[in-house]
């Protein structure tokens, strides 16, 4: 939102309280100063320019902004940026690698788990969080866990199938 390092908004009209933060984002160390009221979504999107994390409801309802903090999916629109100090953040840009897609991403591609794709990064990050905690979730677990991620294009069946297949893939790899 345009907070400069001296603790003013760009216009210089307000002084805001700042915190020093050191964290890893997608495995890369990042340190900087963040305003205490700045949410992680803005830090990621506006300052670090990781735009894969999406902004939608901005009220912790839809899941579009989901990222992992220490392996836990959180709504970055409602998570204060300074709280990532000393923790590690993974966004959609940190899933998979140049060498290849993550099994979840592969499954989303295979099953057309995305239409407009706007909810997709959030869906994948939530699903990541689920598989980290429960590598072979039941269908009921998938439904419960994923019900915080809204897909207005209505890809739910394909998303559920993708998560199931990715969980099988992770089991196979052992």
């Amino acid at each position: 939102m345009g907070i400069n390092p001296s603790g003013h908004n760009e216009a210089g009209t307000e002084t805001v309280q700042l915190r020093d933060v050191t964290t890893t984002i997608n495995g890369v160390e990042w340190s900087g100063r963040v305003a205490i009221e700045e949410v992680l979504l803005d830090l990621l999107r506006t300052r670090i320019r990781l735009t894969g994390t999406k902004r939608s409801c901005e009220s912790a309802v839809c899941g579009a902004c989901t990222v992992l903090v220490d392996g836990q999916p959180i709504s970055s629109c409602a998570f204060l940026a300074f709280e990532i100090d000393g923790r590690s953040v993974v966004t959609i840009e940190g899933v998979g690698s140049d060498a290849g897609l993550d099994p979840l991403q592969e499954a989303f591609v295979r099953n057309l788990g995305a239409q407009c794709g706007y909810c997709t990064p959030g869906q994948i990050m939530s699903a990541k969080g689920l598989l980290l905690r429960s590598p072979t979730p039941t269908d009921e677990e998938i439904r419960e866990w994923m019900s915080g991620n809204i897909c207005r294009c209505g890809c739910y069946s394909a998303i559920a199938t993708s998560i199931r297949e990715a969980s099988d893939a992770s089991t196979e790899r052992g």
Binding site: M1, G2, I3, N9, E10, A11, G12, T13, E14, R45, R49, L50, T51, G52, T53, K54, R55, S56, C57, E58, S59, V61, C62, A64, T91, I92, E93, V95, G96, L101, Q105, F108, V109, R110, N111, L112, A114, Q115, C116, G117, Y118, C119, T120, P121, I124, I142, R143, E144, M146, S147, I150, C151, R152, C153, G154, C155, Y156, S157, A158, A160
Partner: protein, 787 residues
């Protein structure tokens, strides 16, 4: 000179184009897809924020923006007293500047204007906009603008709006009636005389919001002397330039609209006043301006029309429908944004898919102080299909015929016309310029009931008695939608460069349905190339390739055909090029399996283009026009786009909750150009249908819109998906689109509410007549909750 040799694997080794991976998915699963909010804005871009009306209806007494103007970091302010000489009354109506003659004749007023002048007419009307160095400052400054309002009493329903003495929203109009429409054929009186049974019913559908996950609708704009740039996410790329031209007195060609990835639309992503105000701020400040809407602002951008349908149906002794008389009340919200389109679409679907000798619909649309209503997936038809498909069940049960059998007896058969002639607003037209029925409802019914493992036979006795706690029932619904209607002339261009890549240029925005992937397959198949040899560009109006827009199920047929045509023309270009480069005669060169061939010698596309000295890009244009028609009911129309669905539900009589256990949706796709995308459209439409049938509702009270964020407004989640949820496609390859395809993206949404209502009636013998079917309404209908 490098000679890229694009070795093409034999067809057997190529990925199956009809069902292979979709071109756009990789970017979407890796976070690389760029939506509007993700674009890097040009240097010096300002951020805009809007001040919106907190009242649904008020007179603006004064606006004082001095504090905002003095606030450090603020660069521009725009409101009725800071207009920079621009016309605040510029009508912002998508169809206004291209009004059809009958709309013009009506002398419509009540359009949404550039910005509020004397009054605000809905909770969220834009009063002022501010541009500042950063978003925080812009929002703070917008909040400093002091507006003195004289609050007026708001109108929140059609009946309030037309009641004698109701306050008039648009004083110059003198009435709250926005539009009147009618369509009729046959002799209604004689029809009802023939009837042995007459049933009546009243069905209401409330206001809902499309809620694309990318809020509707942000923009990034730059007002320059030589060119005016707009980046935004609308479904109609050319809808913006006439308004910009009219506002600033520039040539439409000076306006360049570019459209990145779009995060869903469903009708909501339309031209908005904020885009023009942002441009005015860019002109005022000399800087690019970015306006990012919040989701709550999205709730104030657009909505579905609320409608009340009153139907009276006559059935003869043989179980044939002989007459149907319909009265429609349409609530169009604060402005004339979609009044004619939605009202007319409702009229031309009010009889469902049945052959009825005498029919009449009379419709009135009225202004209310609600968020302006506009196009919504299957515009006008989610409301009428709910009504007519419910009424059909009521009629069938009344005459003692099973509802499925009753439908079979009355549906329009393949080859039949709706009727011979009809009167549209009193004017007579042939009904035979619309195509005869080109689909088999019999087959659709069969597949729908099969899909949920049902024989299609409904219960004859209500399964609801005093001891029942949970009851199950099944219901069927059919939808009748026209495909590929209207639009001007559609153009596409294909090019081939030295790298052998074929590029498709066009202006058909992809809102998530897979338009670009569809065009890629059409081009690849037409040219005999693998799909990855084709790239499809994002819309950019600077190429001047006209297209009405991605709506009304027209894109597959119209843009698909234009692309196919362009590829056919490209074959000729390639032959001429091969002749120039390699000799022989142009007629001897043909495209075989993606290679330009003559007498057993063949070259790849890249080799042909690279054979030229200097830089050459081969180009070919393709076009498509729908069949012209004088008819004012449907206008030009290429095909019908019917659908069917069957639902099995469980009704909890203690809580009033409805659970859909099994749901099957069927669409006549003609030919699914990309199977997975087509199925995804059918299922996705049904998911949206579940939301608007069971819980989505824009509630107004105390002068405000109450359910205007994702917390208050309940959207369907994965938990709401029926345990058994399937789609099925009819593919007879008999449509007018490429390879026999038809438009189909809106066929599934209208069926959900009536299929569920019919299933509920089957379960408990109680008829739900008002969407959404909330537990409270179910309990009231069953008498377990007093009114």
């Amino acid at each position: 000179m490098t000679t890229p040799v694009d070795a093409i694997p034999p067809a057997s080794e190529r990925p199956e184009p009809w069902s292979g991976e979709r071109a756009d998915t990789l970017a979407k699963v890796t976070g690389k897809a760029k939506y509007l909010d993700d674009l890097d804005p040009p240097d010096g871009t300002l951020h805009a924020a809007a001040l919106r009306s907190p009242y649904s209806h008020a007179r603006i007494v004064s606006i004082d923006s001095s504090k905002a103007e003095a606030y450090p970091g603020v660069r521009g302010v725009f409101h009725r007293d800071r207009l920079d000489g621009l016309d605040a009354h510029l009508p912002i109506v998508e169809h206004h500047l291209g009004l059809k003659p009958w709309e013009k004749a009506k002398g419509l007023t009540g359009e949404q204007h550039l910005i509020a002048v004397d009054k605000v007419r809905f909770h969220g009307d834009i009063v002022a906009m501010v541009a500042a160095d950063d978003l925080r400052t812009a929002r703070a400054a917008a909040g400093m603008i002091e507006v003195d309002y004289e609050v007026l009493s708001p109108l929140f329903s059609f009946s309030d709006a037309i009641a004698p003495g109701a306050p008039i929203l648009h004083e110059d109009l003198g009435t709250n009636v926005a539009f009147e429409d009618s369509l009729e054929w046959g002799d209604l009186e004689a029809g009802f005389e023939m009837a042995e049974t007459i049933v009546e019913g009243e069905f209401s559908a409330g206001n809902v919001y499309h809620h694309p996950m990318e809020p509707a609708t942000s923009c990034l704009v730059r007002y320059g002397e030589s060119s005016i740039d707009v980046w935004t996410s609308v479904s109609k790329a050319f809808s913006i330039e006439p308004h910009v031209a009219a506002l600033f007195g520039v040539a439409p060609e000076q306006v360049r609209v570019q459209i990145p990835d779009i995060g869903g639309g469903f009708g909501a992503k339309q031209l908005a006043p904020s885009m023009l105000i942002a441009l005015a701020l860019s002109r005022q400040t000399g800087r690019p301006v970015r306006y990012l809407v919040t989701n709550e602002e999205g709730f104030r951008s657009n909505s579905r029309h609320a409608m009340v349908y009153r139907g009276r149906m006559g059935i003869d002794g043989l179980g044939q429908i002989v007459a149907l008389d319909v009265d429609l009340e349409v609530d169009t919200g604060a402005y004339y944004t979609g009044a004619t389109i939605a009202t007319h679409n409702a009229c031309i679907s009010a009889w469902g898919c049945y052959k009825i000798p005498a029919f009449r619909v009379r419709a009135r649309a009225a202004f209310t102080n609600k968020v302006p209503a506009g196009p919504f997936r299957a515009t006008g038809k989610t409301q009428t299909t709910f009504a007519v498909e419910s009424l059909i069940d009521v009629a069938a049960r009344r005459v003692g015929i099973d509802p499925t059998e009753f439908r079979r007896r009355n549906v329009i058969q393949r080859g039949e016309y709706i009727t011979d002639t009809w009167r549209v607003r009193g004017e007579e037209f042939s009904a035979k310029t619309t195509p005869p029925m080109d689909s088999d409802f019999e087959e659709l019914i069969e597949r729908a009931v099969d899909a949920i493992g049902w024989d299609g036979v409904s219960a004859t006795q209500p399964r609801f008695d005093a001891d029942t706690t949970v009851a199950r029932g099944r219901g069927l619904a059919l939808s009748f939608r026209h495909g590929s209607q209207g639009g001007g002339r559609t153009y596409a261009m294909v090019t081939v460069d030295r790298d052998g890549k074929v590029r498709v240029l066009h202006n058909a925005p992809d809102l998530g349905t897979g338009v670009y992937n569809m065009l890629r397959i059409v081009a690849a198949e037409t040219l005999g190339l693998p799909v990855d040899a084709v790239e499809v560009a994002f819309p950019d109006t600077s190429n001047r390739l006209s297209f009405e827009g991605t709506s009304a199920q027209r894109t597959t047929v119209q843009m698909g055909r234009a692309t196919q045509d362009a590829c056919e023309n490209l074959k000729r270009e390639l032959a001429i090029a091969a002749f120039q480069v390699f000799g022989g005669a142009a007629e001897d060169w043909t495209l075989v399996d993606g290679r330009v061939s003559r007498n057993g010698v063949s070259y790849s596309l890249g080799e042909v283009v690279s054979g030229f000295q200097g830089h050459v890009t081969l180009k070919a244009l393709g076009s498509y026009s729908y069949a012209p028609s004088e008819d004012k009911a449907f206008g030009g129309l290429d095909h019908w786009a019917p659908g069917a669905a069957a639902a099995e539900v469980e009704v909890d009589l203690e809580t009033g909750e409805i659970r859909i256990l099994r749901y099957g949706a069927v669409a006549d796709a003609g030919k699914a150009i990309h199977g997975p995308s087509t199925h995804a459209q059918v299922l996705g439409g049904a998911v949206l249908g579940i939301g608007i049938s069971l819980f989505e509702d824009l509630i107004y009270a105390d002068g405000q819109l109450l359910t205007s964020d994702a917390i208050q407004y309940r959207l369907p989640t994965m938990r709401d998906i029926p345990p058994h949820f399937v789609s099925s496609l009819v593919e007879n390859e008999d449509g007018p689109g490429p390879f026999g395809s038809k438009g189909m993206s809106q066929t599934s949404i209208p069926c959900v509410a009536p299929a569920v209502a019919n299933a509920v009636a089957d379960a408990i013998g109680v008829r739900l007549t008002d969407t959404p079917f909330t537990p409270e309404k179910v309990l009231r209908a069953t008498g377990r909750l007093g009114s």
